[in-house]
Each structure stands twice: as structure tokens, then as C-alpha cells.
Amino acid sequence: MSIRLEGSSLMEKQTKIAIQNFHFYYGTFMALKDLNLSIQSNQIFALLGPARSGKTTLLKSMNRLTDLIFGTSHTGQIFIDSQEIYGPGVSLPELRRRAGMVFDLPTALPLSIFENVAYGPRFKGLREKSRLEEIVEKSLQAAVLWDEVKDRLQNSALRLSGGQQQRLCIARVLALEPEVILLDEPCSGLDPISTASIEESLTRLKEIYTIVLVPHNIQQASRVADRVGFLLEGKMVEEGPAFEIFTRPKNKKTEDYISGKFG
């Protein structure tokens, strides 16, 4: 196994996430079917597909949040760098810090704004106040929220608007200092201006991180994605550079979806 890996990483130096023959089941229902995919580092990979096609399942498989759901199982492998994330001896908290996730609904915890962002770093064992403040400020700035909340960091995060809460969730993940960011429709509750600022920050963030994004519409994918994968009923129908997928998709179903015939 390791020999093959080294071989493949020689060929594609930049592969951050490698998914191989991956099947995922909820009970007996097969939600993901034989996925093979490699995601390059410092790119935005967009997962397209209609509702219930397995996008969220795939995202959550990448940091094993699916483990929380009873009765799930999988076959195949997912690697981040060269680590098999379903392999023995994998620390789940560590994996989830490496691959941070932003959910589709704003999910601020009932804590202060500061504590929401400091939540992950504290778990890492970070106690030093000045260092925490630094991380919180940096993360909130990267998520384009700092200017709106800098004077009320101790207020409850639940009093923020939906759009602000969603940016808070992004800041919270950035504070983990992850390598991969998994975003599940992060702009679903946002107005066009916040959406634009999130998209802008995503393109900046990919300098540092690898981003896997379930966009909330096709236009968003076309604006920010480097590569696009099209999922349908748990199968990867087509995958390639965004430009190619949007201009000359090879598969008829992809074409129909892109042009809005279904989905």
C-alpha cells in the first residue's frame, strides 16, 4: 500500500485528499458509490449535484463526522496527505482540526462571540490569553466579520444575524488552523453582499488551505471553483477543471444539470 502511495504522490505532487473506491452506507442504503477522486492542495474543489446526491455525506466522510450517525459503514479509503483517515490509530479530534467543517445552517454555540471562535483552539490546549485573542482576531478578520463585532466580542453569539453567524462559523473553523476546509453551502443564508465577501475571502484562503465546497448554486461554483465534481445518486458522474465542466461537459447528465434542466 505504502509503495503505491509514494508512487502516486510522485506523479501528482500536490494531491491533498485522495479518495479510493469509497462506498458509504446508511444501514443498507448506499449513499456513495465507488468514488475515486483526488483533490489538489491550494485549490477550491466544488461538489455539485441535486439534493440527496451525497454531497454532504462525502464532505462529512472527509473528517469522519459521519461517525456520529448510528448505523453507518464504508468500504474503500480516504487519504489526507498520506494518512488513511479511517485507519487505525487516527485521532478523531486531530483529524477534525486538520479538516474543519462549516455547516449549511448557521450554528453558533450559545457562548460569547469570542468563546465561539476560541472554542477549537482551547480544545487544542491553548490557554494563553494573548495568543487566543490574536487567533480570534485573525480568524474573524479572515471571515470578514471583525469590523462588525470587534466592540462586542463578549456578547452572545446567538444575537448575531444569520449571515453574521455563518461568517462566525467560518472564523471558528479558521481558528483551528486547519489544512482542509469543508464548506457545506456556506452562503445559503446570506445576502448577496455577504456572499460576495465570503467568496472573495475563499479565493484568498485557498492560498493557504485546501477547500472543498458544496456551493449553494451553480453560479457560485463557476465563480470560485478550480475543479468541479458532479455527484448524482452517490456516483461521481464527471469531474474535471471547472472551466471544462461548465463549458463542455462530457456527460449528458452533467450538461442537463449545469444548464438547469433538473436539480
Binding site: P93, R96, R97, F103, P110, F123
Partner: protein, 277 residues
């Protein structure tokens, strides 16, 4: 005859109002009865003096101390056990044979009459473990009695914490215990406190099990191994043995005031806690 929709609506409303008001009425009637007889006899001396002549004269100081000591011991033992069990059932196991057996066990325990707990406490703590009639024996007995209440209310409280909080916490690299400590328990506290309060109420009001395990001595206790008499037991003995009906009512009134005070303080704490976040 067919009753119109309008009439059934009125009828339902009437029945519900009657139900709600009879509950209130019963409560006020009891309060009125006890306070009318008891309140005039209350004064500072009554609270601060030891009972004399079997309770015919003097105050109820030692029984207040006894009640508080016994309740505190019972709560201190039962709360960690109960909350721990609830956490185990909700966060560490899925619905399984083990969790069903534990839940069945607590349900059964909840249905056992208090006198049986008293008998068990007497045989096990008082005799077998040689603790004698004492605060400790009584406290342990009451703890096992209120345990089911604390478990089931704590379980409900933990269950009502939104799943997304846990998911977020795990997604941010929290371990199970960190998640429980930082998001589950803080949000379940008000509900858990409700269960603890119910437990306090039962401990304060219990008589049968207390007489069998903590005795009925009204000497002011000086250690966990001292026997005590609680206010409820005092009330019972005064009334049952015809010692003094007046003093019984006065004790009853004091008991009601005590419970009121405990509830007020707990509500205030809960309010403070909830509005802090």
C-alpha cells in the same frame, strides 16, 4: 342530538379551566389551612430554640438543622450519580439492551413506595453496615429514593440539547467529554436543577423512610453519624401522638416556608444562569 362545533369548543375550554383552577384551589386551600393555624405561632424564638417537653414547648431548631443536613447529604450523593447515569445513557450508549435494562431499573425504583426504601435502609445501612440511625444512613436511603427522579429529568434535559451543538463541538475537534462539559451540560443545567429540586422536595417531605433510617432524636446533630429528626417527622410525631396540634401546625408552616425559600433561591439561580449566556 348533535352538538355544534361551537359548543364542543366551549365545553372543552370549560373542562380545561376547571381542571387548572381546581389544582390551584387545592394548593391554596392546603396553604391557607396550614398557614392560618401555624403562622401566628411563628416567631424568631421558634426557629432558634431547641424543642422542649417532647415538642410541646420550645422551638424546632434541631429539626431544621436535621432537615437541611439530611437533604444536603441526599442531594450530594444522588446528583452526581443521577447526572452521571443520565450522561451515560444519553451520550455514551446507544439504545441497547444495557440502556433498556438501566432505564427499566430506574423506572421500577421510581415506583417503589418510600416505606420499602426505609426498610431497605434500615436493614442495610443501619444494621448491616452498622451506621446506626444517622444522617448518613438517612441520606443514603433518601439518595436512592430520589435517584430515579434525578436520572429521568437529567436525561430529558440532556436529550433536549440540540444535536447540532454536539456536531459542531465534535467538528471543532472536541472529544466526547469536552463536548459534554462545554456544550451539553451547561445547556442542560436548568433541566437538571429541576430534577434536583424535585429531589429536595421529596427529601424534605419524607417521613416514613426517615424515621426508619435517621431516627427521631431531636438533639442537635454534631456529626454525620448523629441521629436526627426532620421537620416533617417532627410534624408527624407531634400530630400523630397528640403531643401538640398547635406546634404541629407551626412546624408545618415553617416547613412550607422552607420549601418556598428553597424554590425561590433555585429559581433565582436558574434565572441568573440562563441569562448569563
Amino acid at each position: 342530538m348533535k352538538i355544534s362545533r361551537h359548543h364542543t369548543q366551549g365545553l372543552a375550554k370549560g373542562v380545561i379551566w376547571v381542571a387548572a383552577f381546581s389544582t390551584l384551589a387545592v394548593m391554596f386551600w392546603i396553604l391557607y389551612q396550614v398557614l392560618r393555624e401555624g403562622l401566628p405561632l411563628l416567631n424568631l424564638g421558634f426557629f432558634l430554640q431547641a424543642p422542649r417537653q417532647m415538642g410541646r414547648a420550645g422551638g424546632i431548631f434541631s429539626t431544621i438543622i436535621g432537615t437541611l443536613a439530611l437533604t444536603v447529604v441526599a442531594i450530594i450523593i444522588a446528583t452526581p450519580l443521577g447526572v452521571g447515569t443520565a450522561i451515560f445513557l444519553r451520550e455514551y450508549t446507544r439504545e441497547s439492551r444495557v440502556s433498556r435494562i438501566i432505564r427499566f431499573g430506574t423506572d421500577c425504583l421510581a415506583g417503589v413506595p418510600s416505606i420499602i426504601f426505609g426498610l431497605f435502609g434500615f436493614v442495610f445501612f443501619v444494621i448491616f453496615l452498622r451506621m446506626g440511625w444517622s444522617i448518613l444512613s438517612g441520606g443514603l436511603t433518601l439518595a436512592s429514593m430520589i435517584l430515579p427522579t434525578i436520572i429521568s429529568t437529567a436525561e430529558e434535559a440532556i436529550k433536549s440539547v440540540p444535536y447540532t451543538y454536539r456536531e459542531v463541538s465534535f467538528a471543532l475537534g472536541g472529544t466526547r467529554w469536552q463536548t459534554i462539559r462545554k456544550v451539553v451540560l451547561p445547556n442542560a443545567i436548568p433541566g437538571i436543577l429541576t430534577g434536583v429540586l424535585l429531589g429536595v422536595g421529596r427529601s424534605v417531605g419524607e417521613t416514613a423512610a426517615v424515621i426508619l433510617t435517621a431516627g427521631s432524636s431531636f438533639i442537635t446533630p454534631d456529626s454525620l453519624f448523629s441521629p436526627i429528626r426532620t421537620m416533617a417527622v417532627h410534624f408527624y410525631i407531634l400530630a400523630r401522638e397528640g403531643i401538640s396540634m398547635e406546634m404541629a401546625y407551626a412546624t408545618g408552616a415553617a416547613l412550607i416556608l422552607l420549601i418556598l425559600a428553597i424554590n425561590t433561591v433555585a429559581n433565582w439561580m436558574m434565572y441568573r444562569y440562563v441569562h448569563k449566556a
